[in-house]
């Protein structure tokens, strides 16, 4: 469906994407990364707006850049706000569907149907300038989906939506992916770039984490957790004698490093947090240390993401 082979994209002296190799099949995929990580550049390469400086991008087996055969099968909802002010959502989506190759009547029918589906039924004749950002976001989403693409690429699609709308649209997009194999026998692919991990998890998407233009991890949420588990995790211990505690835990199997933060906080990096916890309990009782708090590394996806970011930046363990 989609493959990138050693893809690098350079803008002058700035590296947007750096030697990315990834292959994606049908189904949902999440692209995670902080601002400036290279997500939008990567999506630009996939959607044929950018040509790689090095490497090869293939979508449906073909080069997407300036290729109408590929582009007509792609739906793209960019992150940037839609500043087309005077047009109404109905006019805007009809316009986009017509640009995808549909005639006037078919475009009108598809646009109305999609706008209804994203919940803009009553607001579709109001100028875009009078709509909230959330409603404009829905109009963008409708524009991306109305021509029934095989590959839907969404860049921060739920940005600006209230929780209810977010829930609705996550459901809609998830259904779109689930309905994939039923449509004309052609599988569909969804790529969602986001920094809100719970949204990507809610889409049951495979994950790819991009940092500094590089793909640093990919797989399911579970696989990424396993990968991170293989890396040292941090245990934070707040107590009255952190230096004496450090002496004691340094000998613990799996402990890799210690550092102090402030007067009372000891941070231990270890590959075996359970062994460390037992050792801390033992030492604390034996030496009558007053342990105020023991906090293990964040096991949530947010925490894993944060750790990958810190690891990439060379901070912490």
């Amino acid at each position: 469906m989609l493959s990138l082979t050693h893809v690098t994209k350079v803008f002058g002296s700035v590296i947007g994407v750096n030697d990315v190799t990834v292959e994606l099949g049908s189904g949902a995929h999440g692209l995670l990364g902080p601002n400036g990580a290279g997500k939008t550049t990567l999506l630009g390469l996939i959607t044929g707006q950018l040509r790689p400086t090095m490497g090869q991008v293939r979508v449906f087996g073909e080069r997407p850049f300036a290729n109408p055969r590929v582009l007509r099968r792609i739906g793209f909802c960019p992150a940037a706000d839609l500043l087309e002010r005077r047009a109404t959502p109905r006019e805007w989506v009809r316009y986009l569907v017509r640009l995808s190759g549909f005639g006037r009547d078919a475009a009108a029918e598809r646009a109305d149907r999609e706008l209804d589906r994203v919940g803009l039924g009553e607001a579709m004749d109001r100028p875009l300038s009078t709509l909230s950002k959330g409603l404009r976001q829905r109009a963008k989403l409708a524009g991306a989906m109305a021509h029934d693409p095989d590959l839907l690429v969404l860049d921060e699609p739920f940005d600006g939506l209230d929780p209810v709308a977010r829930h609705d649209l996550v459901g809609l997009v998830r259904h779109w992916t689930v309905s994939v194999d039923a449509v004309g026998g052609r599988p569909r692919t969804l790529i969602v770039a986001s920094h809100l991990l719970h949204e990507v998890e809610a889409l049951h998407a495979g994950l790819a984490v991009i940092l500094g233009g590089r793909l640093v991890a990919s797989g399911t949420a579970g696989e990424i957790r396993d990968m991170v588990d293989a890396m040292p995790s941090e245990v934070r211990i707040r107590c009255d004698a952190p230096r004496r505690l450090a002496e004691a835990v340094c000998a613990t199997p799996g402990a890799e490093s210690v550092r102090f933060e402030g007067e009372d906080l000891l941070v231990v990096a270890t590959r075996r947090p359970r062994v460390l916890a037992e050792r801390i309990a033992h030492v604390a009782v034996e030496n009558r240390f007053a342990i105020v708090e023991v906090a293990a590394g964040d096991r949530s996806l947010e925490g894993i993401f944060g750790r990958l970011v810190r690891l990439h930046r060379g901070v912490g363990s």
């Binding site: 007509r72 960019p78 190759g101 029934d148 779109w176 689930v178």
Partner: protein
């Protein structure tokens, strides 16, 4: 997973494509171009743009009225036609196209719509050609109205054939110059206006008046030659002025403008096909 029957709608509301009744998805440059042209004309129909068009339409008439009042014995027909030619197919058309054609890419980038259009099959070319069509249509309508009012105010004898001739010159002027302005618009979208003014001055009004091969590729030479031909001035012109016009018949001049427009548009479309705009949010 349940598979919807042909033509039925699944849980998410998405329809099985194999059974849908609307036309199959296909790439149509003409359809897309017309869609863009319609959308661009819709954008032009705003209070501000209509006011600007109104000013463009009455400006030549106002100038002609002022000139006629100062002329004690009324305006000479040839002088009036020359003035209207300079004001309408030259000035009004140029100004109109600077407003409508130059921002073809810059406007889309500013509105955040470029990214939506460039990801559509043939969207880039349709944007260029559709905007060209809208610019030519809009500017021609304004300029023809301006020519009509100017001729009316100048009280030139036999006004209708004159308006017809000016209308033809206006259409050729907009066809050629909109294509000329398309080039700086796609090469330097953010400096399109300045670049187009420079192109107009250097190409049309400098190179166009050099009596050498270089002026053959300018619209101004073709329009001047047509004006001289259609007004029957060829024999009246002094020898040194004859150097500034092309001796070929009218159909050659018209074909030259159309060919020039086609070549310029083709080059602009090819450049636009390969334009890349970095996602500034991320860079």
């Amino acid at each position: 997973m349940s598979v919807p029957l042909s033509g039925q709608t699944d849980v998410s509301g998405h329809t099985d494509r194999s059974g849908q009744t609307d036309e199959p998805l296909r790439y149509s440059l003409l359809g897309s171009t017309l869609a863009v042209a319609g959308f661009q004309i819709g954008r032009l129909i705003s209070r501000q743009r209509l006011l600007l068009a109104g000013l463009g339409a009455i400006f030549p008439a106002a100038v002609m009225m002022a000139v006629r009042r100062t002329a004690a014995e009324g305006l000479d027909r040839d002088l009036a036609v020359t003035m209207i030619y300079a004001l309408v197919p030259e000035a009004v058309c140029m100004l109109g196209l600077l407003v409508t054609m130059c921002p073809v890419v810059a406007d889309e980038l500013e509105r955040g719509t470029w990214i939506h259009i460039s990801v559509r099959p043939g969207g880039r070319r349709a944007l260029l050609l559709g905007t060209y069509l809208a610019a030519v249509t809009w500017t021609s309508i304004v300029a023809i109205l301006a020519a009509f009012l100017a001729v009316l105010v100048a009280r030139v004898p036999q006004p209708l054939p004159l308006v017809g001739m000016l209308a033809a010159l206006v259409v050729l002027s907009t066809l050629g110059r909109a294509a000329l302005f398309a080039l700086p618009a796609v090469i330097l979208p953010k400096r399109a206006l300045v670049a187009s003014v420079a192109v107009a001055l250097v190409v049309e009004y400098l190179a166009g008046f050099i009596p050498a091969v270089v002026n053959q590729a300018t619209v101004s030479l073709r329009l001047r030659s047509l004006l001289v031909e259609w007004m029957g001035w060829r024999q009246k012109l002094p020898v040194e002025m004859q150097l500034l016009i092309d001796p070929q018949p009218a159909w050659v001049q018209i074909a030259a403008v159309i060919c020039l427009a086609a070549v310029l548009l083709g080059v602009a479309a090819k450049i636009l096909d390969f334009r890349q705009f970095p996602p500034s949010v991320e860079i």
